[in-house]
Subunit: 142 residues, 2 copies
């Protein structure tokens, strides 16, 4: 598995409220942001603010009220569906627990999730709309 | 507050067990790692594995068994103690809840913590042992 992180998603109760807080800190949302998700370029990795319940569902986990995830997911973006499959196979071989098998997403990507030994979530993703640069980094528009 | 993240700390039950897992994925620890903390260069931000209870204590929070933090903290590293104070003042003005006031640390740094509206932890830090490059990024030795 590549030693990189592409995206850090904070699961939040109210995306508008959370976005307003970070904007009060002087941060600027990327134009990639939508009504349901705010993206901020952190100078390499991307911070996403997204519904905590949607994150749990996407990761194949019970609703937040019934489980102990902290509402945080890291992500590693790769260049192809095959790379996602290969990485998840490596993770499983290393003892990672797959919480959701890789599958096509409604936005045209391909992602799966695993939990590390302490339950920290990683999403392994192919996103054809976010090409990676030569260093494998996601570069959002401003 | 600078729109950057320097360090992502995962609070773990057993640092050796968590480190072994990430090493099985092919990741290489930085020589900055100690018996109590493993550091991995993620191509910009740094991933740290650290005791979940130590993280809670450092952030001024109750032990993990008594509260709901997910054992994750982001960090923003800055160039001086004064910059830490200034950023925490901005955070408080923006409605962030300071969980631990800025204070000198045993390792020669100066840090404070705040929680965002959903309780996600950020550490604001000055670490004289980790100089920042021209882009404000922490660069660990290999």
């Amino acid at each position: 598995m590549d030693q990189r992180m592409s995206l850090l998603t904070l699961g939040v109760a109210d995306v508008a409220r959370a976005t307003a807080f970070y904007e009060r800190l002087g941060w600027r949302r990327s134009s990639e942001s939508t009504a349901s998700t705010a993206f901020f370029d952190l100078g390499g990795p991307v911070l996403a603010l997204w519904s905590r319940s949607a994150l749990a569902e996407d990761a194949g986990l019970p609703p937040p009220s019934e489980q102990a995830i902290g509402g945080v997911a890291l992500a590693l973006n790769l260049g192809s569906r095959a790379a996602v499959d290969a990485t998840l196979a490596e993770v499983a071989a290393a003892g990672g627990r797959l919480t959701r098998a890789a599958a096509d997403t409604f936005w045209g990507g391909y992602t799966g999730y695993f939990a590390d030994p302490d339950g920290h979530l990683w999403e392994i993703a192919f996103n054809p709309h976010w090409p990676l640069d030569a260093d494998g980094r996601v570069r959002l528009p401003g």
